[in-house]
Assembly symmetry: C2
Homo-oligomer: 336 residues x 2
């Protein structure tokens, strides 16, 4: 089968940063399903994984988000069969989705939303899992709009991949949603995806919140440059507030800032469960099934904004470049 991967880390501008290879098509066994990949999405973690690749001669297939059709199931698989259309974010410790076929643990997949195309579905898993785990597990936000109606969440980088779905979840579950964005198109996008009020992360946050009649916030979900946002976050978060981060840098952050207000700092890394093979990893399948239902009910929308046709070296280079220059709104998808 055809797969796109890398042999060593290299700048995307280098012609040989990605390579196309013919590799053996794997066979489903145990708890795995073999999926015929129909569309993949690209996330910042793809570029981070590319940069971590050692020059060890091994061919590493990147790509995590995917949607496709089950071709085979292993003998321990329950709840899925060949022909099922599924979506998933997979695992950072296995070969990825930039490939015609891919093996994935059936515990971390779900049937894709029936009303979405493969490419619309492929845009969702990694960011939806990240946002869901961050908000409803790590930050302990109740899944109850009534309880949340007096609570405010601040989303740092509301128009990014995770922000575009986190803001929809926050709105759906009754929180007051304030998000940051700085360009006209990101502000518009954020407002279309659940962010009720937008402020600019290039300016001090507290005066901007005060203008909106908000003195402090209960939750902060930081999805961009934690170190730069830190002082602003500490200033605006309520005593006993919860701050969740999915990305650094963390150098220079003063932990003593947590003490007076008894704050919580929690890290969300969507691949923790598959990387450490936690017993809880089946929850990722359940979350994706819930999200599929929300999409089918018209309560959550795909965050796909761009589509490249064809899984090629050129398209992967283009996609990684788009991610790396930091101007991405929503999600970029590549059809296979």
């Amino acid at each position: 089968m055809r797969a796109i991967g890398i042999y060593k880390h290299a700048s995307v501008d280098q012609a040989d940063s990605f390579a196309e290879e013919q590799v053996d098509k794997p066979k489903a066994a145990g708890a795995d399903v073999l999926v015929q990949v129909k569309a993949v999405s690209v996330n910042p973690v793809d570029t981070k994984q590319r940069k971590l690749k050692e020059d060890d001669g091994n061919f590493r297939i990147l790509g995590f988000d995917a949607a496709g059709i089950i071709a085979e199931v292993g003998d321990e698989v329950e709840g899925f069969q060949p022909g099922d259309e599924v979506y998933y974010a997979g695992s950072v410790s296995r070969q990825g989705s930039n490939s015609e076929y891919q093996l994935v643990d059936h515990k971390v997949i779900a049937k894709k939303p029936a009303n979405l195309s493969f490419s619309e579905a492929a845009a969702l898993p990694l960011t939806a899992l990240t946002a869901w785990e961050a908000m409803f597990e790590k930050m302990h936000i109740p899944l109850d709009a009534k309880v949340n109606e007096d609570k405010t969440i601040l989303l740092i980088n509301a128009a990014g991949g995770v922000g575009s779905i986190a803001s929809q979840f926050a709105k759906l579950y009754g929180l007051n949603v304030v998000g940051t964005a700085s360009r006209e198109e990101t502000i518009t996008w954020a407002k279309q995806h659940g962010t009720e009020q937008v402020i600019n992360h290039h300016e001090p946050l507290h005066p901007q919140l005060e203008k909106l009649g908000i003195d402090s916030v209960d939750y902060v979900f930081c999805m961009h440059q934690l170190d730069k946002a830190w002082d602003d976050i500490i200033e605006v978060v309520k005593p006993e507030g919860i701050l969740c981060a999915i990305t650094g840098p963390v150098e220079g952050i003063k932990l003593t800032d947590l003490t007076s207000k008894s704050l919580t700092l929690v890290w969300e890394y969507m691949f923790t469960r598959t990387l450490h093979q936690t017993p809880s990893r089946y929850i990722q399948g359940e979350i994706l099934a819930k999200v599929a239902k929300l999409v089918e009910d018209g309560r959550i929308r795909t965050t796909k904004t761009e589509e490249l046709e064809g899984l090629t070296v050129e398209n992967l280079q283009k996609a990684h470049k788009r991610l790396e220059n930091g101007s991405m709104i929503g999600k970029l998808v590549i059809t296979v």
Copy 2:
């Protein structure tokens, strides 16, 4: 009335580190009650507050933990009346309990356990509030022994003031309790107060846990020198685990250690609610009432180990010295 306080920070070895003064007896108004103090307990926060005192000419009365009898109630006070025997930890931003009478917000007090003397009761509030808030609010440990039976908590410094009550709560609510202690008397004390298995925090923790058949723990409550314990904690905590700290130092701590396992780091500072006047501060009164009930039912014991008779300059110096040399087991109380 008679009060012991300080004018400026000074070593406890200096004769004038504390001063006895006659000050006006305050009057209860609003949400406050006036308490005739019968016993006080000393905590590490007393010595920290002493060290923070500026030389501004003001007389600062230290002391937080107290038990006593209500002498007057303000016109907004509900649920208490003169003659009630109460216990509380008060507020770090008001005059303290090292005094014949003290004003305290009725929202953060409760009736003292009926089966305890004033001095036994005075040993409890600050540490019980700290342990309760840390474990059942900040760390989200369910108040349900059945749910917790497969979970393990590691208590760093299990025989200290907070450790002696945290271990009792942990055992009561069904957790497997492993605690650290290093001297014969602290090991014995810890085992008498809910810690089922004791390991030594001067040796690497993971090999000691493995010898007990424990590969990793769900919760870590660090009550001593977070920086020294950090690497051990990161090694032994489960993916998605929760780490709560009540004291630093935090310099040199690498926050990137939180990322791969998606860990939570939460700070517990018992005075957050009164310092920031959070609407949630009434919960402290509720927690103390719950703890009183547990003590009356014989399910939780006072952690008092030492008693000094008489609120004098000499006894406060002696008490602060005991706290500062770090050899304290359980709690030291001074009767008024």
